[in-house]
Amino acid sequence: MAQKPDPVTLEVVRNALPAIANEMAADLHRTSYNMMIYEVRDFCTALIAPDGALISQNVGGVSHFVADLGVIIEDGMKRYGRDGFQPGDVIITNHQAVAGQHLNNVVIYTPYFFEGELLMFSIVRAHWIDIGGVSTGFGGGPSVRDAWMEGLQLDQLKIHEAGKVNEVLLKVIRDNIRFPDASLGDMRSQIAACRLAFRRLDELFQKFGRGTMLSAITQIFDETEARCRKVVSAIPDGVYEAESFLDNDGILQGDRVRIHAKVTVDGGKMIIDLSGCSGERKAAINSRTFAGARVAYKALTAPLDPVNEGAFRAAEVIIPEGNIMMARFPAPMASWSTVIPTVVDTILTALAPAMKDGIPAAHHGLLGGAVVFFGVNPKTRKRFVVQSLEGGGWGGRPYEDGESGSVSICQGDVRNGSIESIELRSPVLVEERSLRRDSGGAGRFRGGLGIDIRVRNFVEGRWNLHRPSRIDCPPWGVWNGRPGGTADYLLRVPGEKEFRSMNASQYPVPADSEVIVRTGGGGGWGDPLERDPERVREDVTEEMVSAEKALNDYAVVLDGDRVDEAATRQLRKSRGNAGAVKAGAVKK
């Protein structure tokens, strides 16, 4: 066996492995052809051992990619066997039986050999702008009934074999997707990023040798695990539960999607049991993913550290087959990640009684307000898609207010489209993008505000206006904080005076229609009657909170731009205690 690596080697390897994944990400990010990659950063890059262990992964980008890469490599190893891979192979896959996400998330991976031995895989999962099927964009939405409607299914296929391109497969892909230039450009970027890793790995393996490298990786996993255990062991042992729901699955109205988390803390170990969540659905909000549990665990343990297999070894995740997050093929998965932000918030809320100072109230809980408009530019006669993801409010926190207008827990360095960039590219006008006054849940620490973005389309086209699924279960407060405002999609066509709430896919509208994409606010933390009246006054001055809300929710009486302290004291006293203090505030 290899000797135990010395502290220097260990530290060098510990820094070098994430640097490789980050360099792959930087390369992909700068050369990709679609905004889902360069703006939304809807991708991840990683190194995976042949047994599926995560050696390193890029930091930033979309958080829910932190899980579910290893299973792809395990499956590939099963199909091809250790001897079935050769240098120069490039494998492409998106098949939901294993990959478990919408088909747009195309995985490219390449085997890495050192001195003739298969040691690991470099892998890039990235959201292609189109994968065929009924609609371009986000996999066609929840109404897609099965994977065949959703698009092209690629099941662990070698697009390069020993360096030779499989031209037939390439042509099949090119002929069956809508923007082949962009997507195949992205594929080139994915392959280039994978190959980039090889050069860096060669340097490391040559310098330290195979044995030392592999034992360093093992030890890095162990240390990362120990670090996480240490954090968890500070949480009192116990079994903690919380519950929430989505209004519906996008098809069956009124049939709520139950989300339930049972979290067991036992010393340094944490068991996240999601068995209580809804079973798989006919609507396409299914997935096969540990992402919800892993994102929550990561946020609780070592949010700023790079990720590797050790980062999750002390977390046991229970999701039985047939669960909405462990759906069996061919359950449809076009909107696979819909439930995840709510799952994360529910897990965190479960732990609120155990960690009063460590858990915020719920955030807007949706994957952002999606601005999606399809049209044809009359000048160029080319099709265009306007896309932007708008953030919402985050929950109030034990020491401060929640952030406003920020992307969900499932998205990290995901950016909205700048107004000028949107208008440069497409014939639309962004009339406003503003914070929604009073959308932050009241609390001792207020929830952050949601956003209204109002867009006018200069040419006819089709809007995606899917009603958000978290209206009946708004972003909840904790410790008697109030819920945040809910999201919505509103439309006004020419001739109409008022905007109306919508629920439609690819809804055709005439030129000069206006759409408001509205995002929710965050829940409040703590009793609003305990909020410093001076902070409430500032919020009124800043027009984050209206004078009515200041009076009704916070019992703060304003006299011009000053707090009437006596009247405020009086009013707060008369309001008294709101009832028993509860950690979570989720209704059934």
């Binding site: 502290p7 530290e11 450009g185 080139r188 240490k230 953030g391 827990i409 208008e423 800043e542």
Partner: protein, 679 residues
């Protein structure tokens, strides 16, 4: 007597370096920075160096006043005037959370509160057409509100003003009339590039720091005039060039990152003079190490950065020398983390309490302590012997905090600390070279800063860089670089269209317009050079690459040459390109340079043999015991000297380490050229 003087005000020290053009002598002085009145400190430094202000022909000034005003949040009360519907564009920003898993993240905090952000009636389209004319009364009303709020600066940023700045200009006139005492920034005057959040932030920063910086520059000018200074005053900028005081009034935001750039300019020029056109500049001081790339004698640039870090910092989208910084400096602390792993930095003991060896109360072992333990820094010849270092204390501290936990003796622990620091810094150098598509094997490394020469050879070895250059005055290199800087102004205009359809006559006209704008900012009569770039990308991509173009190419409409150059650049940077993909233009850029006279330093003596001043026991990286190592005084090494490693070259403020296998040649001009041995 004609003196060229550079004065660099840092957080702790004010550094002065003067070049006497008649004697070709260099003169240095240092004084403590006086934060309450930095101008005092600057004048004090001139007196201390016994310079006659009337004899100074040019004074180049670098100051941290701009960046400190922002970081310490001591700027103006700013009012912001924006297009209707975009009041919250500044607060919402891009909505991103770079720390993806951090539920306690902070978005950047705007410099202007919401109630001082006022929308006016106007709307421009992306094409530059007016959709809604500017309502003059709404601007006047905004001014009334801001007057009541007591603002002392205003920033104006309208949508698509990069395409048509007319509304901003008009609003500017009204504001200057209504609020005559206010400092005013119009976004198109700072940055004519699309993306409103970044432009708002840059303009807001400019207005936020504007009154204080403008007041400072004005005060400085007045005080110098009072001392009969009759030379040129020039202000150092983040882009590696200098500007006139008048330009600094308008765009103080250009001064923000002027601190590290002096050393990079100097590295470029020293490299060029020695025949190295491609250079990695490596500067290691007390708290950080900085790496940057010089190609063909030009520092690599970035078109913006985030003040205060990428996660929660303020975007400032102006040209800035591209620097990668890591938290590894002489004062970086070595520690054992909670699971027993050895870490170095990013926490630093700084100057106070400093490393244990400095005897100022430092308790935690630092990179400097490790070097003292290894014998690479001499305990008795530090700062020319002014400060006797406590090696025993360093050994005890290293054993206590690191050695015990890892079961290592002091030398092994010290060696481990230095090696980890080397690996970290090598990643930074890799980031500016390999990750930008450049092979470090083609580069020379120019090392500066107090700790740079100590570590440079080891880092170079790690990255296969064949040659290390230790310039003269390595610990005053940044101030020296300021003396070498040219005047420089960067301009950008968004010019969005597909390359084949681009109106090259209009591009040429834009180029000429930018040249005219630059001439208004350059010192009158200076020898000017202009370089234009087109920011290009494949349609569908977001990120652009700047492709150099000549006015002749623009006049000839030579699209294919531009196209070919872009494909080649893309291939070089990202290892693939796509000849069949359509390409679009996003921006046209202009760099206007005003040539300032070069320095001609007097060469040191040549001939004669070098004799070591002592033989010291020094540990190297082989894990073996300390070996006898000759230590030379740099001043004792005549030009042409050749020496094999191991050897130490000691000078005031720095020590150069040669390992066994390395070879040193002293250039005729006095630089140390080290041929790096293979491990």
């Amino acid at each position: 007597m004609s003196l060229r003087v550079a004065i660099d005000i840092g957080g702790t020290f004010t550094d002065l370096i003067a070049f006497d053009e008649s004697s070709q002598e260099i003169l240095q002085a240092k004084s403590l920075t006086t934060p309450s009145d930095p101008v005092d400190g600057l004048i004090d430094c001139i007196h201390k160096a016994r310079l006659e202000p009337a004899a100074i022909s040019s004074l180049i000034h670098g100051s941290t006043i701009a960046i400190n005003t922002l970081i310490e949040r001591r700027g103006a009360n700013v009012g912001l005037i924006v297009t209707r519907g975009t009041r919250d564009a500044y607060t919402i920003g891009r909505g991103n959370r770079p720390e993806a898993y951090n539920i306690f993240f902070h978005r950047p905090r705007p410099l202007v509160p919401r109630h001082r952000t006022i929308e006016v009636q106007e709307r421009m389209l992306a094409s530059g057409e007016v959709r809604e004319p500017l309502c003059v009364n709404s601007v006047r009303a905004a001014c009334e509100v801001l007057a009541k709020e007591g603002v002392d600066a205003v920033a104006v940023c309208f949508l698509h003003s990069y395409a048509n700045p007319e509304h901003e200009r008009l609003a500017g006139e009204i504001i200057r009339e209504a609020l005559p005492d206010c400092y005013v920034s119009l976004s198109h005057e700072i940055l004519r590039e699309y993306r409103e959040y970044e432009r708002i932030s840059t303009s807001a920063v400019n207005s936020y720091i504007g009154p204080r910086v403008a007041g400072y520059v004005r005060n400085l000018q007045t005080r110098l005039d009072g001392l009969k200074f009759a030379g040129d005053l020039a202000i150092m900028q983040s882009n590696g060039g200098v500007m006139t005081p008048a330009a600094a009034f308008r765009r103080p935001v250009m001064m923000m990152e002027s601190g590290p750039v002096g050393g990079i300019i100097a590295a470029a020029q020293v490299g060029m003079a020695l025949g190295f056109r491609d250079v990695v500049s490596f500067d290691m001081g007390g708290t950080t190490a900085k790496a940057s790339l010089v190609r063909e004698g030009e520092a690599a640039m970035a078109e913006g950065y985030y003040v205060g870090g990428a996660a929660s910092g303020h975007p400032v989208m102006v040209s800035v020398v591209d620097v990668v910084e890591v938290g590894a400096g002489g004062g970086s602390i070595a520690w054992i983390d909670d699971v027993g792993a050895l870490k170095v930095g990013p926490r630093s003991a700084g100057a106070d309490p400093g490393p244990i060896a400095y005897r100022r109360g430092g308790q935690e072992p630092t990179i400097t302590d490790a070097n003292v333990i290894l014998g690479r820094i001499g305990a008795s010849d530090f700062l020319g012997g002014e400060m006797h270092l406590n090696r025993d204390g360093a050994i005890a501290g290293m054993l206590d905090r690191v050695g015990k936990a890892l079961d290592m003796d002091a030398a092994t622990a010290a060696r481990s600390v230095v090696q980890i620091a080397i690996a970290k810094m090598a990643l930074a150098v890799r980031e500016v070279s390999v990750e930008r598509g450049y092979d470090p094997r083609d580069f020379a490394m120019v090392a500066s800063g107090g700790a740079g020469p100590l570590h440079a050879v080891a880092i170079a070895r790690e990255l296969f860089i064949p040659t290390v250059v230790i310039p003269r005055f390595p610990s005053h290199f940044s101030a020296l670089g300021m003396l070498m800087a040219d005047e420089r102004h960067d301009f950008v205009r968004t010019f969005y269209c597909e390359l084949p359809e681009a109106d090259f006559a209009k591009l040429l006209a834009t180029y000429e317009d930018m040249v005219a704008e630059s001439n208004r900012m350059l010192t009158p009569g200076i020898a000017a050079a202009y370089q234009a770039f087109l920011d290009l990308r494949y349609i569908g991509q977001e990120f652009t690459l700047p492709v150099p173009v000549t006015p002749e190419q623009l006049a000839a409409g030579d699209r294919s040459a531009v196209r070919k150059a872009f494909d080649a650049l893309h291939e070089h940077r990202f290892a693939h390109h796509a000849e069949d993909e359509p390409v679009e233009i996003i921006n046209i850029r202009l760099v206007a340079t005003g040539r300032r006279p070069k320095l001609a330093l007097r060469s040191p003596a040549t001939g004669g043999a070098a004799t070591p001043k002592e033989i010291r026991q020094v540990y190297f990286d082989d894990g073996g015991p300390a070996v006898d190592c000759p230590v030379y005084r740099r001043d004792d090494l005549p030009g042409g000297t050749e020496l094999p490693g191991p050897a130490l070259i000691s000078e005031y403020g720095s020590t150069t380490v040669l390992f066994p296998g390395d070879r040193l040649t002293v250039a005729a001009t006095g630089e140390l050229l080290i041929s790096v041995g293979r491990a």
